[in-house]
Subunit: 312 residues, 2 copies
């Protein structure tokens, strides 16, 4: 049995993304891990086979630790991506009335995402920051017998389900444009996940995305423009360009570039050859297809989570 790791604890949005993927794979067990660096290094050291990590959010931007590990610490491939809407739920013990809630727990980012909703609640209701939405849900579940404080958490439907809580107010985030993009990391270059792709034929590679990291040749004005000419002249669309420090000198950058197309296509091969002449460093992360995932009820079926392990 192969092993898929995700950023835990169980019940986070990363687990939701991982479940989307696992439902399309055969024979994978899931393992949660609390830190992105540990998770990425676990793939690198062959302790697990795949890892699902967040790389970008539509409101917060890049997840820098993911980018920096891919650039500086490991040589892994992106085998797929999963794009997931981040819908926050107010979750509590069965029968809890919203007007009775005294304390609300969640990750600081989730609390910030629901600021408008929280302002409409009673002034006596206090918010508390914890390290994940999943931990918040567990905290509401794990109450002492003689503890009469009425608590709620903000988190995913999955977190509610895993902790025997119920959603008492649905989709309470202020902004509906909250999406997170996750990438699936693997070791070997040929392990792009065919299971993730809807179109298999070579002619239809256009639906793939390719990711690279490169560092332009230094001290040459217009070099980034020259690099982008490789794409523009072949009508290849950039879906993203992001800079990160090389960590050598202020003003020295690496570029993370995502574009449409597959490394096996002739025009993409030409682009890579052209970039090789214009960069001092070029790292190919792989070609992969995208899983754009709404959340369906079947993803939430309880029995699918009994085999969750803790990653040591």
């Amino acid at each position: 049995m192969k092993r898929l790791g995700y950023l835990g604890p169980p019940g986070t949005f990363t687990q939701l993304a991982a479940e989307k993927l696992i439902s399309r794979l055969d024979n994978y067990s899931r393992i949660s891990c609390q830190e992105i660096p540990d998770l990425i290094q676990a793939v690198d050291r062959s302790e697990i086979d795949l890892a699902v990590v967040p790389i970008e959010n539509s409101l917060e931007g890049s997840v820098n630790v993911t980018l920096d590990y891919l650039a500086h610490k490991v040589s892994l491939n992106i085998a797929g991506e999963i794009i997931l809407p981040i819908n926050q739920q107010l979750i509590a013990r069965k029968g809890t009335r919203i007007s009775d809630i005294e304390e609300i727990y969640s990750h600081p980012q989730a609390l910030a995402q629901c600021r408008d909703y929280l302002q409409k609640l009673s002034d006596s209701c206090q918010t508390h920051r914890v390290s994940s939405t999943a931990e918040a849900a567990e905290l509401v579940y794990r109450r002492e017998e003689d503890d009469a404080v009425v608590r709620a958490a903000i988190g995913s439907r999955l977190a509610a389900r895993l902790n025997q809580l119920e959603v008492i107010a649905a989709d309470i985030q202020d902004n509906d444009s909250n999406w997170t993009r996750f990438v699936v990391l693997s070791r070997s270059e040929d392990s792009h996940l065919e299971e993730l792709s809807s179109r298999e034929s070579a002619e239809e590679k256009e639906s793939y995305k390719t990711s690279i990291i490169c560092s332009p040749i230094k001290n040459r004005p217009g070099i980034l423009h020259e690099m982008l000419a490789e794409f523009a002249s072949r009508n290849v669309n950039l879906t993203r360009i992001e800079s990160r420090p090389t960590r050598k000198m202020l003003g020295d950058y690496l570029f993370f570039i995502d574009f449409s197309g597959h490394l096996e296509q002739p025009k993409i091969k030409e682009i890579i050859a052209g970039l090789n002449r214009k960069t001092s460093h070029l790292k190919i992360l792989g070609s992969y297809s995208s899983l754009f995932a709404g959340l369906e009820q079947k993803d939430l079926e309880e029995e699918r989570y009994h085999e969750i392990n803790q990653f040591a």
Copy 2:
């Protein structure tokens, strides 16, 4: 008297940057503020005249909260920039021996920057995370009479000086390529700080830098390449390009572009006109000169800090 705000508490690296600036300005009082959003909004609301905030670090990359406030929340100008080396010091009460230290306090990032040094210390020496290097220094200073624990902090020389501590090991950071770039924010467009510039003549505007934020016209492949052609065809060097989410949709980005030159130069006017045709949104942050600041002893003279106020 005008008011200059900086990211506090007193003794942080941002105060060091602010002191570099204040030494070149007449008649400014300094005010510390604990949060970047509050500081930026204080300029916007005319509560202070200038603010010094970090925008980029050579190891960590962009300070996203600064970029997002400049893009989405306020219409302020960049009036100058200050580039400062981040050198971490081990600081303690006078006469403390390194081998006796039991507890070391600092900001998590400063602790991470000195990981190699910390690993060489005794195993019994514990590290503790606090919210700033300045708070760490204060904690070492503010010890109860009957408290016999030997403590040290990691922070700036200024933090040592302000808390009557001494540097017991100098420049203990693992990586010497640690620089932070700060920007000076102001309200009115014409208030670029001539005091910061070494060359005043119009012909020498080449030594200036200009910053803009723009959002390319959507759904046009090659649009970023077309935008960069405006710079390349006029031999204008980009010093930085950084993308941030528009916060509207995943895959929709704003670009922060810094380049050499001044808005009053004809070629820069042409570039701005060209970009206007290729962007759906263009915000000009201003032209300014750079203060590349090593740390000199005179910056540390104690008497210069007696007027520090707390920003409410």
